[in-house]
């Protein structure tokens, strides 16, 4: 295989990397302000106009780069496999690469352009995106780990990016410590699996495991691998970083952690479990549990749903509330994997995709409100509908979709997940998990409605002034776009479901 061909097949990743480097160069060239920790950013050397121009160039370059990468994916051959498993091109990978790129693009569009060192910020988002692409399009444990690390390290940086805010630093440190520990566990688990199976390719592992019983050593490897992914998707009890990271990080970083990173993690988790570890799935049926990864994921899911929803009830900060609801949603999403099979994977992928768009939009609204009112406690959202009917309407779409109400995408997603889980297994053995999930949904409606009540009802707008929230056309268009996606996928879920089902072997 020639290098040219390799470059052609890896062109999406290459394009995004080049764009990142280019933007980094632009950022450095156009004057970065020196910033001392704990002090508001120093004035940039050029005038405001020059800075605005340079940030605009960065945004444009990133957008062009990402769109070119999407175009490159479309032009890839439908099926290819480089260095058995290391870089795979399949309809599924292409679909989710495109979704990750779109999510990255939306994140960049909602990122406030007043961010100090804007160029670097965008470059790191793009590098994280490269990690996501690698993660999605590999079926080999080593590459998966590299993808995880590249994404992880970039996200730690993004979390701690706001140097003037001590909470951001705290969140970054917490995220980093948890993340690196989880990575260590995963790496150890992967090495055990490698020892047992003699290969790092998922297909080969599946073949080897077919002939083996579930030995304690293999089980240890399995559980340790799961720890890393449970951390990534913020499933309880590995979720402790999430509330701090979601609350402390710059809003757009939190949005990216909650959307792009989560989608890619679920894709690769599904691949590892359903392809590599297929022989040791086990069963989570009530009264008929069989050891394997399925019961382990079922327990994670049940814990996440209960803990996430119950703790979210008492939050007074919207970002923290969204973080705990993210824990719960990780639980719902795992339901599809617990059910297993093609249908189950498809339900999980659909749900994680729409969830990503929903949360991205919700964080977009949070970012605008935060810029206007100086905070993101629930009280800051009081009377939002009087100040900006558009943002309030979009927020209603996002929150009601999270609660799972029609005609929004979240409703269909939940219906799909729960019906798949209900139908899987003999004699409706997963009914217990579906009941837990429904109970969790019931709880969640309460806290979403509390937020919406504040947004639509409270008349004391005087507190933050009745001024309309303005001067951010790009963010508002992006948010409206996300809301439109959530609404359209609710009205016509066929659009995505058919694509996912067609892409799954």
């Amino acid at each position: 295989m020639s290098y040219l061909e390799l470059l052609k097949l890896a062109s999406p990743e290459a394009i995004v990397t080049l764009t990142a480097l280019l933007i980094l160069a632009i950022g450095v060239a156009t004057g970065r302000g020196t910033v001392v920790a704990g002090v508001s950013p120093a004035k940039p050397r050029e005038g405001a106009a020059g800075k605005a121009a340079s940030t605009l160039i960065c945004t444009l370059a990133a957008a062009v780069g990402l769109i070119t990468a999407i175009a490159a994916i479309v032009m890839l051959p439908p099926k290819a496999d480089l260095f058995p498993g290391m870089l795979v091109i399949s309809p599924l990978d292409s679909l989710f690469n495109v979704i990750c790129l779109v999510l990255a693009l939306l994140t960049i569009l909602i990122a406030p352009r007043e961010t100090p060192n804007y160029g670097e910020y965008i470059a790191i988002i793009l590098l994280a995106t490269v990690g996501l692409l690698l993660l999605v399009s590999s079926e080999e444990l080593l590459m998966i780990f590299i993808g995880l690390e590249l994404t992880g390290l970039s996200l730690y940086l993004l979390t701690a990016f706001d140097k003037s805010d001590i909470r951001s630093a705290e969140a970054g440190l917490k995220y980093f410590l948890f993340g690196s520990t989880a990575s260590a566990f995963t790496l150890f688990g992967l090495s055990l699996v490698y020892g047992m199976a003699g290969s790092t390719g998922l297909a080969v592992i599946a073949e080897r495991l077919n002939t083996q019983a579930l030995s304690p050593l293999l089980f240890a490897g399995l559980v340790m691998t799961l720890v890393g992914f449970a951390f990534k998707v913020a499933a309880a009890p590995f979720h402790f970083w999430a509330p701090d990271a979601y609350q402390g990080a710059p809003v757009s970083s939190a949005a990216f952690i909650a959307s792009g990173s989560k989608v890619a993690s679920f894709v690769v988790l599904g691949k590892i479990m359903l392809v590599g570890f297929r022989p040791i799935q086990g069963s989570a049926d009530w009264h008929a549990m069989v050891a394997g990864w399925s019961p382990a994921l079922a327990v994670l899911a049940a814990f996440s749903i209960l803990i996430g929803n119950l703790v979210a009830l008492v939050q007074s900060n919207l970002r923290r509330l969204l973080a705990y609801s993210a824990v719960a949603h990780a639980g719902y999403t795992l339901l599809g994997l617990v059910a297993g099979g093609r249908e189950g994977f498809s339900a999980t992928l659909f749900y994680t995709t729409i969830y990503a768009f929903t949360l991205l939009g919700a964080f977009g609204v949070v970012a605008l409100v935060r810029r206007e009112t100086g905070g993101d406690d629930l009280q800051n959202f009081a009377g939002l509908s009087a100040r900006s009917p558009l943002l309030a309407g979009c927020m209603a779409v996002f929150l009601l979709s999270l609660a799972g109400l029609p005609p929004l995408a979240g409703f269909f997603g939940k219906f799909y997940l729960f019906s798949v889980a209900f139908g899987a297994g003999a004699n409706h053995g997963l009914l217990w998990l579906v009941v837990v999930a429904l109970f969790g949904s019931l709880i969640s409606l309460y806290y979403y409605l509390i937020v919406l009540k504040l947004i639509f009802q409270t008349p004391n707008v005087e507190k933050f002034g009745a001024s309309p929230i303005g001067h951010s056309a790009l963010s508002r268009v992006t948010i409206a776009l996300a809301a439109a996606v959530v609404l359209c996928l609710g009205l016509a879920p066929q659009f995505l479901v058919a694509r996912i089902l067609a892409a799954l072997p």
Partner: protein, 494 residues
């Protein structure tokens, strides 16, 4: 066929009311609701389709990968309920003619409830039905939490969580039917023989889930608080439409899909229904808030619906459907008087306070309407309530003779609390004031706004309907009965 347009027009009207300038919103709402009414009347008299079976109107693939279709159908039962929905919609718009606070959002939510309800009554696909069913939940919350009165946040949240809880139960039942029956089409599933073991547990879950909205005892407690907290139009929609959604779902989905499960559990439904009738009537007797009285009377009247369904014979079930129609109209009328005509003018609904106000002389039209509504509610012959309840009781006599006796006692209680509310609210006398040692505060001398034309029109429509159906119930029964006879639980029973 035209009747599907009720759904589309109402949705379009909701969005138009939201986006167009505020001054137009109430006219848009009235036009939309009126169009829905005209369409359903046309369907009632047009006779351009056969009503004995659940006939498909529209069928378009929606999510073929999962077997979901956009599938609407209509039979006599659906048509009756669409009609009552549209009548309640028109009158509730007329009774909220004075909403000045954020009118465009108000009418948006109101029309969403109406269109979702039309959708439920016409859906022939389980998933579609559930979509419409859940779609109604959130608008109710906002209607009550923003425009409501007494204890509105509590009432709104309680109502919403109860609805969602019921929805979760329904959800399990629907998935059970879907996964086992392999289809979401109601007509196909109605032919499918479900495993008796499955029916034994799936039926009660599904039926109870729906019955939460129908106000089944002991899951009825959302109804009084919700009704009291809601704005006038909200209470009218709750009583007139939303409670019917539950009963309709129980009939169309739970009973029709799981006939054997129904046979196993129907005695329990009858017991709960009878308890509901008597208990709610007894509680209503002791209420001081006029809207609480009416709220509990709604629970009591819906008990008749559930009792009629539990009989599993043609008369009982047809009577139950007629009672849904009848209570929709009468309940809306009662709430219109209490919420709009009285409360907006006196700012109190406390019966003791009202009894001192000489309202019969201050608001003679309101007094007239309330007398008519009370008579209809008590089951005086000539009104639709009598026609429906007598048919139900004849049906019940065949299966549960004992229940008729108990229910008869319950009807006496209904008459008692209705007369008490009527007397105290409009016909308080000098003697009452003397007993309580307070002075009469007459509303005559104050600048009491007169009853507006919109109110008269709305009340007139509802009164006309209840009398028309009471005098000539055959109009609806001829359409309901064949549709009921086509349902299979009648054949499975014996």
């Amino acid at each position: 066929m035209t009747i599907a347009w009720t759904v589309y027009i109402t949705f379009a009207g909701a969005i138009a009311a939201l986006l167009l300038p505020r001054t137009f919103s109430r006219w848009i709402a009235l036009l939309t609701a009126g169009a829905g009414f005209a369409i359903s009347l046309y369907a009632l008299f047009g006779r351009d389709f056969e009503l004995a079976h659940f006939n498909t109107i529209v069928q378009v693939p929606w999510v073929p990968a999962l077997g979901m279709n956009y599938h609407l159908a209509v039979d006599g039962i659906s048509l009756t309920l669409v009609l009552v929905t549209s009548i309640t919609a028109v009158s509730s718009v007329l009774f909220s003619w004075d909403v000045t606070e954020r009118p465009n959002e108000f009418f948006f939510w109101l029309l969403l409830v109406v269109s979702g309800s039309f959708g439920v009554f016409l859906s022939a696909d389980l998933f579609l039905l559930f979509v419409f069913y859940e779609l109604v939940i959130v608008p109710k919350y906002f209607l009550i939490a923003i425009w409501g009165s007494t204890n509105k946040e509590y009432g709104a949240m309680k109502l919403t969580l109860y609805s969602f809880f019921g929805g979760a139960l329904v959800f399990i039942g629907i998935i059970a039917a879907y996964v086992n029956g392999g289809s979401l089409d109601l007509n196909q599933l109605a032919q499918f023989q479900f495993d008796p073991q499955l029916q034994r547990w799936a039926f009660p879950i599904l039926f109870l889930g729906f019955a939460v909205l129908a106000g089944i005892w002991p899951l009825h407690t959302w109804a009084p608080t919700g009704h009291v907290a809601a704005p006038t139009a909200g209470s009218m929609l709750l009583a007139g439409i939303v409670m019917k959604l539950g009963a309709y779902g129980g009939l169309r989905v739970a009973m029709n899909l799981f006939p054997q499960g129904f046979q196993i559990w129907r005695n329990w439904i009858a017991v709960l229904a009878v308890i509901g009738i008597v208990y709610a009537a007894a509680v209503a007797l002791r209420q001081r808030d006029l809207k609480f009285v009416i709220g509990y009377s709604s629970v009591s009247h819906m008990g008749f619906v559930l009792l009629g369904l539990a009989t599993a014979n043609v008369l009982g079930v047809s009577g139950a459907v007629l009672q849904m129609f009848s209570h929709g109209v009468i309940g809306a009328l009662l709430f219109a008087v209490a919420g709009r005509m009285i409360y907006r003018r006196t700012h109190t609904r406390d019966l003791d306070d009202l009894s001192l106000m000489e309202l019969n002389r201050a608001l003679p039209f309101a007094a007239f309407v309330f007398v008519v509504a009370s008579a209809a509610s008590m089951g005086i012959p000539g009104f639709s309530g009598f026609a429906a309840e007598i048919i139900i009781l004849i049906g019940v006599w065949k299966t549960y003779p004992l229940a008729v006796w108990i229910t008869g006692a319950g009807m006496v209680l209904v008459a008692a609390f209705t007369l008490r509310a009527l007397k105290q609210s409009f016909f308080g006398t000098e003697a009452d004031a003397r007993v309580k040692n307070v002075k009469r505060v007459t509303m005559l001398n104050e600048a009491t706004p007169p009853i507006t034309f919109a109110e008269k029109l709305g009340a007139g429509l509802l009164i006309f309907t209840t009398i028309a159906v009471g005098v000539y119930p055959k109009l609806l029964l001829d359409r309901i009965q064949p549709a009921v006879e086509a349902m299979r639980f009648l054949k499975a029973g014996g």
